[in-house]
């Protein structure tokens, strides 16, 4: 094993400009080493390069150029990773679209991003063609493994006129207006974060990186490109059963680096598999996406003292991660691990009532710096709400992203997460605007009012529950089933309430006339079907 310092000497990470540089700069160094290992299927850096070049040359031949959007729908297989790499090699911007989304959401994303091309895994081709045909969308659809690619050259495509302000990717997140928002990320934004990772991590090259997240959850970008940037192997966690039983994945894959939501590790703990010898291969365990209980990091540390644990926090709008924290000691039992210190180059101000707050007080986290996204795709209304210009102490104006997250900065400069300003929640790492779910419920004529809350079930797992009122003559039970069916048609599975509770009376209101969410929680907690 070679220390990372030698890689840095060889490829000078700070010179990276484009996201694909993390692959391009290393592909010849590791030409015969594995870049992806997916069970029986594996591919070396050299073979992946040629295969992605063919697809990139095909895209270029079909007119793709910098800033064009190319959607891709694929499972976490070699085909999926090849597609991302090929899109970047062509200079275009990749937009991950989950094959698990309902047709209506897929159609909305197509209409929003207006892709030049769609790269689709064989499994989803018929469905995507049907959606496009029924809605008169004239988009070129490519089978990423189709025979037509063989006629294209496997040599490096030549793309001119690229700049660091070109679009690298667009990732859609839940939106409070009832429609998802596409976060635009420039190469400059994401490369700044990944270049910083070389300095922050002290890891060896050619490690085995678990790819736990879906493509549409941005920790994927770290898993893929920082892995390739260090000559590592991507090992996709790509069976649905792995989400229920993550041990089945970890026990056979000899993972060295895992970037995951804490609930995956909690599941290992609850299934009494935490002390299994196969987990000892994990050298770097990075948590993100949820509050991290110190009890969990303490438990892990007591079993694997040589494994370095980290808590990472950030938003898609700030290129994945704005704060990071190395868990170097046993922390107070029952406490929550801090989100840590800002990534170099990221500036955070805490603001309350239009004023900067001092250390020790809580304020909304407002982020400035190289990693801040330019805004939401084709959505000036939402962009102007969240991205504003602020004046710093020296009267210089900065473009800033208002995260909606409430943080507290302690005297040592370490940040602690304190909740949200609005009703955005995170459920198993997915960022969800409860308003988006309520708007879908309200789209049914029979629904007069709707409120959505998150409660814990008997397994201490977060569950989304909807409550509605109606004066319809349709039976409550029948209407509830109809609402659930509509929700499933419009929203991804992770956003669908596990139950909806109907009332024939108006929902309780507070003094301001708003739906009283405390009382809605009481209704939900009193329902036997939750």
């Amino acid at each position: 094993m070679e220390d990372l310092t030698s890689i840095k000497n060889r490829i000078t990470p700070n010179n990276y400009i484009y996201l694909d540089d993390f692959f391009e700069a290393n592909k010849n160094v590791f030409i015969d080493s594995l870049a992806i290992e997916d069970g029986e299927n594996e591919i070396t850096y050299g073979a992946l390069d040629k295969s992605a070049n063919r697809l990139a040359n095909y895209l270029i031949a079909n007119g793709c150029k910098p800033n064009d959007r190319v959607g891709f729908i694929s499972s976490k297989t070699i085909t999926g990773y090849k597609s991302i790499l090929a899109i970047l090699k062509s200079g275009a911007c990749f937009v991950p679209i989950s094959g698990d989304y309902p047709d209506e959401r897929i159609l909305y994303l197509f209409q929003s991003i207006k892709p030049k091309v769609l790269i689709v895994e064989k499994l989803y081709i018929n469905r995507v063609q049907k959606v496009c045909k029924e809605n008169h969308l004239d988009i070129l659809i490519i089978d990423a493994d189709g025979p037509e690619l063989n006629s294209f050259d496997g040599s490096q495509p030549i793309v001119s006129d690229r700049t660091p302000e070109d679009l690298a990717y667009i990732i859609f997140t839940s939106g409070s207006t009832g429609l998802p928002k596409g976060v635009v990320v420039y190469h400059r934004n994401i490369v700044h974060f990944l270049n910083n990772c070389f300095e922050f991590f002290n890891l060896s090259e050619q490690l085995r990186f678990a790819h736990c997240s879906e493509y549409s959850f941005d920790p994927s970008i770290f898993d893929i490109f920082f892995c390739w940037g260090t000559g590592g192997v991507i090992v996709p966690m790509n069976k649905r059963s792995y989400k229920i039983n993550p041990f089945a994945f970890f026990e056979s894959k000899a993972i060295n680096v895992a970037f995951t939501v804490p609930s995956v590790i909690t599941t290992l703990l609850r299934s009494h598999t935490l002390s299994h010898s196969s987990l000892a291969s994990i050298q770097h365990l990075i948590y993100t996406g949820e509050a991290l209980p110190a009890d969990l990091t303490n438990e892990w540390r007591s079993r694997y003292p040589l494994c370095q644990q980290y808590n990472f926090y950030g938003t898609t709008e700030t290129a994945i991660i704005s704060h990071w924290y190395k868990v170097d000691s046993i922390l107070d039992a029952g406490s929550i691990v801090p989100v840590g210190y800002t990534v170099p180059g990221v500036r955070v101000n805490l603001i309350d009532d239009n004023s900067f707050v001092m250390s020790g007080a809580i304020g909304e986290s407002v982020v400035c710096g190289t990693q801040v996204s330019p805004g939401y795709w084709d959505n000036d209304l939402e962009t102007n709400k969240a991205f504003k210009t602020i004046s710093g102490n020296n009267s210089v104006e900065y473009k800033a992203y208002f995260t909606g997250d409430l943080l507290l900065k302690d005297k040592g400069g370490c940040y602690h997460y304190q909740g949200r300003k609005d009703r955005q929640v995170k459920v198993r790492g997915h960022r969800i605007e409860l308003l988006e779910i309520e708007k879908v419920m309200l789209s049914l004529d029979e629904v007069e009012e709707a409120a959505v809350v998150v409660v814990k079930n008997e397994f201490h797992t977060d569950c989304i529950i909807g409550v509605f009122s109606t004066n319809s003559t349709t039976g409550i039970q029948e209407l509830s089933l109809k609402i659930i069916a509509v929700l499933k048609c419009k929203l991804p599975a992770y956003m669908c309430p596990v139950n909806v509770i109907g009332k024939t009376t108006f929902l309780p209101r507070n003094k301001n006339g708003k739906i009283d969410l405390v009382k809605i929680h009481e209704i939900v907690n009193g329902d036997d079907n939750v």
Binding site: R240, S241, I244, A248, T267, R270, S271, H272, C463, V498
Partner: protein
């Protein structure tokens, strides 16, 4: 198929609301999109309530297919179901 196997299949199909054309011999979380982590919890709750049993925590995560569920339940449910 034993009584237990039949009942387990029936309960999974009911909880996940699986359409008839997707029901085959070996239901599994890898092949049924509705069987995600939340669907899994709903299946466990339904099984515990129907068979009046407590499924050990260390077994729950392993029960990701019809076959695996039957294997665990055959050790803990009343003989009437076997």
């Amino acid at each position: 198929m034993s009584n237990l196997e039949n009942k387990v299949k029936e309960l999974i199909v009911e909880v996940l609301n699986i359409s008839a054309d997707k029901v085959d011999d070996g239901l599994s979380s890898d092949t049924i999109p509705e069987w995600d982590s939340m669907g899994h919890m709903q299946i466990i709750i339904k099984l515990e309530s129907f068979f009046s049993c407590d499924i050990p925590r260390n077994e729950m995560a392993m029960m990701t297919s019809e076959e695996a569920i039957v294997k665990v339940l055959s050790k803990i449910v009343s003989a009437d179901f076997l």
